[in-house]
Amino acid sequence: MATQPIDQFSKRLRPDTKASVYDGSKKGHEKRTQVLFDRFPDANRLREIAGEIKQHVVENLDTYLPQVEAKLQANGVKVHWAATAAAANEIVLAIMRARGATKMVKSKTMVSEETELGPFLEKNGVECVETDLGEFIVQIDHDHPSHLVKPIIHKNRRDIATSFEKHGLGAYNDDPEVITRRARAHLRAKYLTADVGLTGANFISAESGRLVLVTNEGNSRFCLAATQCHIAMVGIEKILPRDHDLGLFLNLLARSATGQSLTVYTEFISGPKAPTQPDGPEEMHVILVDNGRTDVLASECRDILRCIRCGACLNVCPVYRQASGHAYRSVYPGPVGAVLSPLLAGEKFPAMADLPKASSLCGACHEVCPVNIPIPDLLLRLRDKAKQEHVPSPGTPPMGMWSLLASQPAAWKTALLAGKLLDYLPTSLVPVPALRAWEGSRSLPAWRGGKFRRWMQQRTPGPHPKTP
């Protein structure tokens, strides 16, 4: 019998990749805790309120979406709607063609990963350059990001130096400083010759139509300083009701994502550049993308639409730390991905239905989530959905035998006796493949079955403990 898909991925990881992912995610988590809980008297209250605000938005998207559209239009922004990934890509291409543009620089956006915009544009003769250092490396490697905010958490400096050399960015040198300088020089030329800059948005305020974008590298700012046209691709759930809510969310986002009090560059963009400003886009487009989000909205798991993509749940997740991002086979890895990816998959849900099962439901993700998403609950709902839809689950030990034993006392007692045998028998001889697989990376404690029942029978009831 095969193990679960996520275990298979984890097993194939190189030991140094495993170490990179483990260290990187752990470090992220420790910093977050410090910076969030040292500074605010009641950090958990912040998370709860932020969660309530986003839940309100999600449940009132029918009002907020037209409101955002009107605000953007009043600010001089052209608004587009894309029901599917393909529609979103076509809109981008049409804007490029209308301008006669062939070069685009883009800053990191998860929606464009969903729509696979880069490869689509390249196929259509448009150069599309990722400018976030990590995403740039992912692009030249024809790889996929493995973390929401640290896309190359699975690569070390030697991997990167090798890719740079292969890509004509200088002789092999694995000094991170040299790598960064080379990227700086290479990408600078790209910004200055591109016609269009594409970004996502972390938030849009319904009150003012302001898009808020955060980066540390300054790549999105460079895109918006050097090009003439700005396209923002935004998921329909990115809305915040009021400008002042930004104060709350900005405080939470950087702290949860990277343990900074604020990212280096925080941009508030409500339209094309001011007339007196020499640099920047004169034309601005916002594409509101659905691509499966309305299905999520219609499901019992709509709470996941609160997500602000901070990556904190990845950093803290024991499964993610072992398996890395690619094991989730989708744009969104980790706990958030285990909920979101099967839902966004639409008809391909069965192919992703194993993800919600790859969790011990330890609850750490819920605890760190800046918008307080009850991820373990949502995972359970998805497990149930898979069951209702009779999705087979390869690699998961069947529970039929267990329920037979548990419902027949005589069989149970026999099984307990048999369990003792495990202490003497090498597990390789045990005829349960799931157990053998499990033992591949762990060792079984000595069998202690049956003691509880004996204790229960012999115990003399004492006085009831007082309830406080």
């Binding site: 990187g24 500074r39 605010f40 009641d42 209250r45 309120i49 309530e52 605000i53 839940q55 309100h56 449940e59 009132n60 029918d62 979406l65 037209p66 600010n75 709607w81 029901a83 976030d132 990590g134 190359i152 070390n156 990167i160 991170p176 400083e177 960064t180 700086r184 600078r188 540390n216 590298e217 300054g218 700012r221 460079f222 918006l224 300083a225 050097a226 002042h244 930004l246 104060g247 709350l248 405080n251 990277t258 900074q260 009090s261 604020l262 990212t263 280096v264 560059y265 941009e267 508030f268 963009i269 339209g271 094309p272 001011a274 400003q277 020499p278 640099d279 309305t294 909205l297 219609a298």
Partner: protein, 203 residues
Amino acid sequence: MTDRETILSRVRGALAPLKPRAALPEWDHELASLRRDLSGQDLMAVFAERLRLVNGLALTDLAALAAYLRENKCLHGYCDPDLLAECSPALGSDFTVETTFDRSRVDDYQFGITRATGGIAESGTLIFKDHIRSPRLAALAPWVHIAVIRKSEIFTDIPQAIAALGQDPNIIWVTGPSKTADVEGILIEGVHGPGVQIALVLP
């Protein structure tokens, strides 16, 4: 049906069974601010300290700026024409300063002096608005960026600065030099933007 109608009708359909819907909570600004932390402190001192924590540098006079630039052999750069009269006497004749930023040779400028519209003490952040004519590129492309603000323009914290966003179509907050930790989590500054971020706080 257009995509707009498709999306909106799906949204309405998905939300129809939801009654009642989650209400919008009010929240107290005190919750998200560290103001109490900072009350009674000199905002300029807090700003300078917080900027230092993110590897930026706050200077309070032009002579100190000129000394810093000389020491680092940055003698050629850009200066916003509106600031030139104030800056050039201190910079002296060993500097060559241009007042237009030529995008065809962005790497020629060792420094850029531009006008910022304010700061945030809590985070050591500089605020730039588009209506100030300083070119976006001049604040981004040179290795050393000097942002000039007035002492009276420093806000206490993020919620206060959000309340003062105003109408400008493009506002950017800059908190320290451009940086990345993408390669093995190692901090490297000056990725795309400045490697050195200076705030020149004038009276």
